[in-house]
Amino acid sequence: MKKFVLLALASTALSLPAFADGPVVPQFVEETASAGFDHTFAGEWEFVVGGGTAIFDCSGDGLPEIFVAGGTNASALFLNESSETLALRKADASGLEIDMVSGAYPLDIDADGITDLAVLRVGQSRLMKGQGDCKFTDASADWGFQAHDLWNTAFAATWEHGADWPTLAFGSYIDRTQEDFPWGNCTENLLYRGTGGKFAAPAELKPSFCTLSMLFTDWNRSGTPALRVSNDREYYKGGQEQLWHVEPGAEPVLYTEAEGWKKLKIWGMGIASRDVDGDSYPEYFLTSMADNKLQFLATPGPDAKPQYSDQAFKRGVTAHQPYTGDDKRPSTAWHAQFGDVNNDGWADLFVVKGNVWEMPDFAQEDPNNLLLGQEDGTFVESGDKAGVASMLEGRGGALVDLNGDGLQDMVVVNRNGPSQLWRNAGVAGNWVAIKPQMQGANRDAVNAWVEVRTGDRVQRQEVLIGGGQAGGILVPLHFGLGDATTAEARVIWPDGTEGDWVPVTLGQVNLVEAP
């Protein structure tokens, strides 16, 4: 018997927008200064990538906190004290004031109900145990986590079938001692498995190709997530994008051309995933330079091969050059995330942009993208109209409801410039948020699928820890519902158990507990 619990978060009364003439453009208000979001991700070569943000609730009030990488500055945790407007307070002595941090991902490693944090560093990464009340301690040694001294740039996590302890993938970039000749000197990606509260020594994911994003994802709905890895062709030799079989109890094995995997070589920087077309299989948006990919399975179905067609051009999400301003040089894309910022029920796409480092062939004034999804499957740019076309040197970011009003707000981490925060003040449709929860290991139901049904239409999202640019969110899954006034939801749990469809209460977070 699944339990649905209506959480106490208040919902705001929302007026219904008109959806007749294209997507409604939400209005964002920058509240960086007024909210007290004073932080800079800084650094030179070793922080030319990174700048991730991890967003999760560590105070228990339902409003998520913001952890931000600092590069050569200390990383910082911002406590969320928002109400109608956004309000943050930089935490003192949270334990997360760490040097040389490139990014972080939240997850509950030890299943104690308190979210922990995997902190990526240029150096040894750390696993920070949540102690409650937004305090953290380094549990790397206690958990047997043997960190390598690497330029850590990517992370993903899953719970393999039957496992009582998570499987973590850490991606790394270049051998930073190779100043003269860095090309071809990618360092190792590592897979950590464990049991009984300890990680074993990591296994190398050979070959490793200078990874900037990783994601455990059930690409073919087999029930067993695979590890998708996006790699930066700038540095590898003989490399490509990768997909790994990660079967319980077996060594990870790459998908091969014989299995249908087709070589793709891009400046891979970030992965975002969503079932955009409603066929129950996830699509993948891959960020790069001057060319981004939106991959759809070529032949979806139970016997699908991992072959993808790129529909970025067809659907209007190439995001290959600035859409506003005078600088028309090609763009550089980093973090990407799907969301629904206008709650119209069609997935939107948020892409953080920024020049690598004074590269003159690429735009210096490179605005972030807010691409609004439409019923016909295409997207339209709205970043300038929505008020989020920042021209700073973006890296990480997030779409997340920070003040519990049912509207996804926006966080952007810039390199060598102030991080930014926008409150979504737009008119929006109805919404619902679903928080799946399990007992014991994998409390947050990572790699479960959450489905929301309105009439004949089903939206679905996979619970993911990974992807993006060096950062991710762990919050209830947000679904825009347009003008629907009722909805049902179910969860397909990581073990394949299909929950029942049950009505949900709109305008608030619904807790769904596993059997």
């Binding site: 030319v48 003269d180 090309w183 030799k237 051009f313 190439t318 040089r329 090609p330 480092w357 690429f362």
Partner: protein, 435 residues
């Protein structure tokens, strides 16, 4: 207190203990040819990792680097300048006095590389700076600092002269990675249309490259070509037969044909590009045979100019003929699901650029090293492709050319006539007087 006696061993120990870099010693001074080879290995990486460096742009850089290097070596050894022989190059500044050849070569290549790759990314910038600093220390070890300074200053002056010349050739400035913001497609099915879904590549690469000033090639539109078979959709036509050949080959490729196609694919951003492939061959030979710097500089200059001229002449014809690519024709008339092995380059088909520049490259290298000069080609070894052995430069060029048929990106006429065009271009480079 006893005086401190420093020797190599004590320095090693002291440096290791203090984690300090070892000072360069005179006995470790690299010869000028070693300096050249180190710089060219870095240049091959910069070609690969600089976003504007499509094959034509890469060829231009090899030409200017080669000429700058040659002028330095020529002055150092009293050999013949290319000034007055190649288009619009005036005499470079004379040396102010005695020069050290290795220091001069290092200064020329460091300054020319920094200028030509000013737009490379932060990693390339770091690598260039590190090479300039570390190799410069080795080159200067044990030399009179005044001689080092004179050589460095004159090297920079030589480079400035070459770069001023380069600035006027019409190819110095590349916008939007070489893809114009707008381009009107030629009407009719015979003509090029975009072949992929990359937004930037909906216009053709460098449509005006055919107007860039040539180096050794002189005269009005030399090295013209026979036109390709007349466009036709008639299954009995010569054009259709060429398309069928690409299709039949593409759907029945042997493993060896696939390997050949990939070996010569030489994609920009994933390899040193076709001109870099030939530069890599020359560098391997120079390393194997310990080529002296004068012969090495001569070969690099001629090779660079030949491939650059080949691309210019080839591009001129490409945009005059503006021929449709095989993938477009075959999908429309033969098999809508046809997938060529290689990605089709984003510009018109006729003639084949790789064939043209390979024809020029082999003919130049053959004139320098001889007809039956065997060599190994390890250009793509680090990328996992095997070393290939060739009995001659011509055999390599012919394989490079036919690889485009195997790859499904060119018709036979573009391949065969491209090679011929390259041979014609090479004759101009071969006439230059140097050694």
């Amino acid at each position: 207190m006893e005086p401190l006696h420093l020797n190599r061993r004590s320095l090693l120990l002291a440096s290791a203990a203090l984690l300090l870099p070892l000072p360069a010693l005179a006995e470790d001074r690299p010869a000028a040819e070693e300096v050249v080879l180190k710089w060219y290995r870095l240049i091959l990486e910069l070609i690969r990792h600089t976003a504007t460096y499509s094959p034509p742009v890469a060829s231009r850089a090899f030409a200017y680097l080669g000429v700058a290097l040659w002028e330095g070596v020529a002055q150092s050894r009293g050999l013949t300048s290319l000034a007055g022989q190649v288009n619009s190059l005036t005499s470079p500044p004379a040396p102010p006095g005695p020069l050290d050849e290795a220091a001069l070569v290092h200064a020329v290549l460091s300054s020319a590389t920094a200028a030509l790759f000013f737009n490379t990314g932060p990693t390339g910038q770091r690598a260039m700076a590190a090479m300039t600093r570390k190799l410069g220390e080795k080159v200067a070890a044990g030399l009179d600092p005044t001689l080092v300074k004179t050589s460095e200053d004159h090297g920079a002056a030589l480079t400035a002269h070459i770069l001023a010349w380069a600035e006027t050739d019409g190819g110095a400035h590349i916008e939007s990675l070489g893809f114009p913001a707008e381009w009107k497609l030629t009407d009719g099915p015979a003509h090029w249309v975009p072949t992929n879904a990359i937004r930037l590549q909906q216009t053709p690469l460098l449509p005006n490259w055919g107007t860039v000033r040539t180096f050794a090639v002189t005269g009005d539109l030399p090295c013209g070509l026979e036109p390709p078979p007349e466009y036709s959709e008639d299954p009995a036509s010569a054009f259709f037969a060429e398309a069928i050949e690409v299709y039949d080959t593409g759907v029945s490729l042997t493993d060896e044909q696939k390997l050949i196609a990939r070996f010569w694919s030489d994609d920009p951003m994933l390899s040193p590009t076709p001109p870099g492939h030939w530069a890599s061959i020359l560098i391997e030979i120079a390393t194997r045979d310990a080529l002296p710097v004068d012969r090495l500089a001569d070969a690099l200059a001629r090779l660079g100019m030949a491939v650059a001229d080949a691309f210019i002449v080839c591009w001129r014809v490409k945009f005059e003929v503006d021929l449709v690519r095989p993938v477009t024709y075959i999908r429309r008339l033969i098999d809508p699901k046809f997938e060529p092995l290689l990605n089709t380059p984003p510009f018109p088909e006729y003639p084949s650029g790789h064939s043209s520049q390979s024809g020029a490259a082999y003919a130049v290298l053959e004139a320098i090293f001889g007809q039956d000069f065997a060599f190994d080609d390890a250009t793509h070894e680090a990328d996992g492709l095997p070393v290939r052995t060739f009995p001659s430069f011509k055999a390599a060029a012919e394989e490079a050319a036919i690889s485009r048929l195997y790859g499904g990106i060119h018709f036979r006429a573009a391949i065969e006539n491209g090679l011929t065009q390259g041979e014609c271009v090479a004759e101009f480079a071969n006439r230059l007087k140097t050694l």
